[in-house]
Symmetry: C2
Subunit: 207 residues, 2 copies
């Protein structure tokens, strides 16, 4: 790998990486063509050889951020171990772990979280490889299969869970809460509220 050469190795990936890095610290507003180009050590117009538009680059950064979120959720779900005599308990804990992972990602990486959901309905054009929505629904399916979630509630369940968890994430990220600000308590309370709304038994020590 020679050091200074005319052709960059993989400018497409390099720009995406730089975009993620910029978005991580500065949010969607930090996704600027000239900034990313110079960060990679390339002229601004070179970007157009790999992305039709700045919007396309931003969209890809956003999509990658969503995938990172989905991966965190997946990892959190898989980290929950089976419970010997109570398979349903593990399923419940997985749903809770997914929700908690979602919120923790938002709080840990607020700018990236903002970037992930900055665009309106770009999902259709190019779906995320692991979709957060799918991860949630798989966990809910497991919940039904374990007999812990009423089938009648299955349809509206993801909406309720998603709304509450995504909503709380946004509230925490934007710091929309009045002074007595106890994020941890808010998270557990909201997750408990979701389980209540789903009419799922609340595990004693959820964590």
């Amino acid at each position: 790998m020679t050091s200074a050469r005319y052709h960059h190795g993989d400018l497409h990936a390099a720009l995406l990486k730089a975009g993620l890095s910029a978005a991580r610290t500065g949010g969607p507003a930090a996704l600027q063509l000239r900034e990313l180009a110079s960060a990679v050590g390339v002229s601004p117009s070179a970007v157009y050889r790999h992305y039709a538009d700045m919007a396309h680059l931003s969209a890809e950064v956003s999509r990658t951020a969503r995938e990172a979120l989905a991966n965190r959720m997946l990892a959190a779900a898989e980290a929950v171990s089976e419970v010997p005599r109570d398979p349903g308990l593990a399923a419940i804990r997985r749903v809770e772990a997914i929700g908690r992972a979602y919120i923790e990602f938002a709080v840990a990486e607020p700018h990236l979280f903002d970037t992930a959901f900055m665009t309106a309905a770009t999902t259709a054009s190019c779906p995320d490889s692991p979709s957060a929505w799918d991860v949630l629904n798989d966990a809910l399916d497991a919940l039904v299969q374990a007999g812990e979630l009423d089938v009648a509630r299955r349809e509206t369940a993801p909406l309720i869970a998603w709304s509450a968890v995504h909503g709380l994430s946004g509230v925490l990220v934007r710091q929309m809460l009045p002074p007595p600000h106890q994020p941890d308590a808010a998270v557990t309370a909201t997750l408990a509220g979701v389980l209540d709304a789903l009419n799922v038994r609340r595990p004693p020590h959820a964590r």
Copy 2:
């Protein structure tokens, strides 16, 4: 009021109004200094006599949008009539009406809703005159006073309600839902979920 004079009557208010109009159709991205200035029929630099910054103008537009939302919620709550032998029922219906008004505002004016919550923590600098948060909490206080909400849940109640309702609003506005898209059903399901989470009795015909 002469028609074409050098000094504009109330440029501050005129710019705010133009900003709201622009945001209503184009969202936060439509809040552009030169655009608003020319809409009011004034040179770009005139704006700086009334706003320190474009950010200040945007912030005021955003704040006004939040106030409009709060007013809708308030109006919806006041539209719920008392129930002769059951004061608690009215209190419950008011909470539900508030949530429904919130979501309906978001769906009816998605761009304005986006504009309302585009900034991070501008609330502290200049609080909204009727705050949506306060409207919700007043309704919850009434719920406690009517003996319909357990005092132990009072603290976390607004968070759960706000997260779910705000979250669903964002989901609907951004159209983050997969194809089988039934907004109405989603709203009633989420509101019912909130009441479940608050352990409040569900009124038979809420509307």
